[in-house]
């Protein structure tokens, strides 16, 4: 049961943090329509995070924003501050492929199977969006380099037993994963920003 909690917390933190990172493109994505689509997907991911946090606690906001930095369980992949579109799309695509494997496995779970299935129905559209960009950019050198660079991080999103499948789907060889449990240097400033409002709220503030 402790393992389950850890797994779900990792999932929720991944969704929160990738939603946060992707929403950094709001207003500055390369095309207006993509800006709307990308922001909407980012919002969905944060919604998934909330739904999973709610399974773990009565106060999702507190769980999401009141933890010290080292208690976050997100994979390093989602923490990275990526400043170009090639890397952003590479991460989006790698994350969606990994997330599908993880969510599909969770759908078999007696407790959270229903929630996982619900999340999966929305992720189906995210996957379509990610695949479409991947098809578009797959021969673009900057995109390929970004995929190669992020690949060890992508492996860290799923459990070791799921990595062979991830490698097969992505079409790359398994390498040493960047595991969750420690954080990248990019995470501290992000944590600072994410938790700032609640940390600076006067005692007794109502939301």
């Amino acid at each position: 049961m402790a393992d389950d909690r850890e797994l779900l917390l990792g999932l929720a933190d991944d969704e929160l943090v990738i939603g946060w990172r992707d929403s950094e493109w709001t207003g500055i994505a390369p095309l207006l329509e993509e800006d709307v689509a990308f922001s909407s997907i980012a919002q969905n991911e944060i919604g998934h995070a909330r739904a999973v946090y709610e399974r773990l606690t009565d106060d999702a906001d507190a769980l999401a924003f009141d933890r010290p930095l080292d208690e976050y369980r997100c994979a390093p992949l989602v923490e990275l501050r990526l400043l170009d579109w090639a890397h952003t799309i590479a991460r989006r695509w790698l994350y969606e492929v990994a997330d599908e494997i993880r969510i599909t496995a969770l759908m078999e779970d007696a407790d959270v199977g229903g929630l996982a299935a619900k999340i999966n129905r929305e992720e189906a559209y995210h996957r379509m969006h990610a695949e479409m960009w991947r098809e578009r950019l797959r021969d673009e050198p900057r995109f390929r380099e970004a995929v190669t660079e992020l690949w060890p991080y992508a492996l860290g999103v799923v459990l070791p037993a799921q990595r062979e499948e991830l490698a097969a789907r992505v079409g790359l060889d398994e390498v040493a994963a960047v595991e969750r449990g420690s954080h990248t240097d990019d995470f501290a400033p992000l944590w600072e920003e994410m938790t700032m409002v609640r940390r600076s709220a006067p005692a007794g503030a109502q939301w």
Partner: protein, 101 residues
Amino acid sequence: MIYEVFRRERKGQAFEHAGSMVAPDTEFAEAWAREQYGRRGESVALWLVPRGAIHDVEDWADEFDLKYRRVDGYSIKARLKEARERAAQPMARGEGSTRGR
């Protein structure tokens, strides 16, 4: 490629022109249109039409002033006003519905 987007607000209603978007292919157009015109539940269906598929018709020759054929050949101002007032009653509900971000 430019796509003209038509949306159907509710089942049974006619599709209406909603706007247009530039997209590299139908797949992108669909992904973007879903968000742009549907994410708030404001459409039940969309049509995406490549602008090239549209056949424009915009000029009518009227060299002999056949104005008796046109609506402005008759004075219908009063009758139109009446009809509008009648129409205003049941129409009020669908007006000013969900649009914009």
